[in-house]
Symmetry: C2
Subunit: 392 residues, 2 copies
């Protein structure tokens, strides 16, 4: 199948591109390298060195793999996305091509505007490109579980059957996102739902949980095929950060009480879920939502798991509850349904000691590369700039 | 009270500015004249001639009225809105400063992007200006009943109590907007709801129905104080268009079957509702929604009312059901609650024969100014450009 991977240079985009190429698909990646630029903005970098995209695809091809095409440009520019669609005639579009950091979106007015405009306009352009140039293509859009917030009822997959004053309807699940980034994803979801209804396009919205891990069968083939490992306060996700902290004898920083419950999944399950969505496409005119995660944990539970694994390899991290820079409930009900991908055949790789051990091993060898400045949040979503930690 | 009226040169903004000044408030209007520009884009104009904003405020002051300040600029530009807030120190912000046409937003990709970026960025800037420069001010934001779509349950005012699998919560009412314009308002609503929670700002979101009428106590003082009368297929609203069609012996064009039910209100009730919201502000941190309309009608019922009134003054319009350019259900359940403004003291001016007679009289005197090209929709939301009607 001809597949476009938007944001194909990113943490998940690049492993997805290789994975789908390995399955025999005709894959092209699209990227404008904003993600690499933003590292520069906040003075961070991936702990695992990442090769230029052009080298990544060369190395991949040199291993005898099915070549991956590259289109460098910005999907918020219509001329660019139009030419990419004309050249590639995609049957499926995997859309990772968005700003993806809640803390980044909350840093300033500029960051809020940049995040929402980038994500909304990029996605609008993709939808018009589909309508005009590939009306039967299937959009596999990366959303986020964060769109739902933390309601006091079970979170369903995209829609909710409501009975009210004696009448019933199935309605979009009410959204309570908690950052300008998460809001941008909600804006997208509404726009996509509308064009499926209005124009008969089709889309699967993957409301993804927090992803952990960096190793896939394909990244393991050559160090130059590695994907990003972010541990900083802006781009890093929680499990990755804990592992880095454990490896350098730094406290594991739990935001607030740590009762924040979220859905999590292994990077390999992300790849499998995207493949399942592509293999079992939405019907024409259908907008469907899959909640893409495999397990729920509190952020404190994750810290405890990492601390336990770390102790077994001779480290002894302490857990530190720090002031929460975010605006979120620290104790709340959370139960999100996630059966639709299981129904399609997903066999989850649950979070295991082995996985954490592997991450700790990866990180342990790079401990001297860790920038300690990035391990504490530098910005409160309510109060603005926080006193930054000294470089150590 | 010091009040900013964003979009204060528009159909509702200008009458609102005069009304609030007449009530003794210290009013400044902000506008970038996009609305006048868009007339040029589609080759339309207000049936009632409208004076330049600078003349409007001069005439107003020359009548001995409390002067209205003017700030010309674009609220999507941060430097501009920042300087306006610094100069005016608003206690209330009435926010009409958005693109407001569903058909305009559906004309092309460019129009969709322009509408969403303009509305989302302008509103984000207002929210940051409030946070940084006027944190206790009250945002009175014009939303639209179109945010809700046409669910098969009663539409509540902003929130819905849901019981699901044995648990309960009060959640944002699920939104099903049906144009890129309506979607932009839903995006705004989510952004505003978030900052009230995150930053403790306060806002009243007025989900307004379709407004009819042009005459207020203030516009009646001088012809140069008149507000817009739009009857074209892009900017005109349905009752206004029917009246113009009746006056020139043109069929009243009902889109599709005409069973589309919407909420409607008189322009004078818009002014009163805005005043009530200002006088009874939201609490700090509160995001509240009022459904701002007074009656529900189908678009066919409205055509019948206009036809009946027209026959009494000697005209004899026929009703023509034309192909619906929009994407909407033409027969559906519709029952929207609207008690919160009544609870605050709104005494509705219901749609009367007198009102329609008045509109027909206004329009009758201007019949030779009507541009017939603008009376049929020129663009289908699904099919694109329609064959335009010849200029007659």
């Amino acid at each position: 199948m001809k597949i476009l991977v938007l944001g194909g240079d990113g943490y998940l985009g690049w492993p997805t591109a290789m994975y789908l190429a390995e399955k025999g698909h005709d894959v092209s990646v699209v990227d404008n390298f904003h993600r690499r630029l933003w590292d520069t903005e906040i003075g961070a970098s991936s702990l695992l060195p990442i090769a230029p995209l052009q080298d990544r695809v060369s190395v991949w091809a040199s291993l005898g793999k099915k070549p991956i095409g590259v289109h460098v440009g910005d999907i918020t520019e219509w001329d660019f996305i139009e030419s990419v669609f004309n050249k590639t005639q995609p049957e499926a579009i995997v859309h990772y091509g968005e700003h993806r950091s809640a803390p980044f979106s909350m840093l300033s007015r500029r960051n809020a505007v940049v995040t929402q405009v980038n994500n909304v306009v990029g996605t609008l352009n993709v939808l018009y490109a589909m309508k005009d140039l590939a009306p039967e293509s299937h959009l596999v859009k990366l959303g986020t579980m964060g769109e739902y917030g933390t309601p006091n009822i079970n979170i369903e997959e995209g829609f909710l059957e409501v009975t009210h004053k004696g009448r019933s309807d199935v309605l979009p699940f009410p959204k309570q996102p908690a950052s300008f980034y998460h809001l941008s994803k909600v804006h997208d979801s509404h726009n996509i739902m509308f064009v499926c209804r209005a124009w008969g396009l089709r889309s699967t919205d993957l409301n993804q949980g927090v992803v952990y891990g960096v190793h896939t069968d394909e990244t393991a083939l050559d160090p130059r095929l590695a994907t990003r490992f972010d541990y900083d306060d802006v781009w890093g996700t929680v499990l990755n950060r804990y592992c880095v902290q454990a490896a350098i004898d730094h406290p594991l920083t739990v935001y607030g009480k740590g009762g924040q419950t979220r859905g999590f999944l292994d990077i390999n399950d992300t790849l499998k879920c995207v493949e399942l969505a592509i293999e079992h496409p939405a019907s024409m005119g259908e907008y469907r939502v899959f909640n893409q995660f495999t397990e729920q944990f509190t952020v404190l539970e994750l810290a405890q798991k990492v601390a336990e694994a770390a102790r077994k390899v001779g480290w002894d991290p302490i857990i530190e509850n720090i002031t929460n820079p975010r605006i979120e409930m620290e104790e709340h009900y959370y139960h999100a349904e996630h059966t639709r991908l299981l129904d399609l055949g997903l066999e989850p790789r649950y979070l295991s000691e082995t996985l954490i051990d592997g991450l700790l091993g990866t990180v342990g060898g790079l401990a001297d590369q860790v920038n300690r400045r990035l391990l504490y949040p530098g910005h409160s979503w309510k109060e603005g700039l926080l006193e930054t930690q000294p470089v150590q």
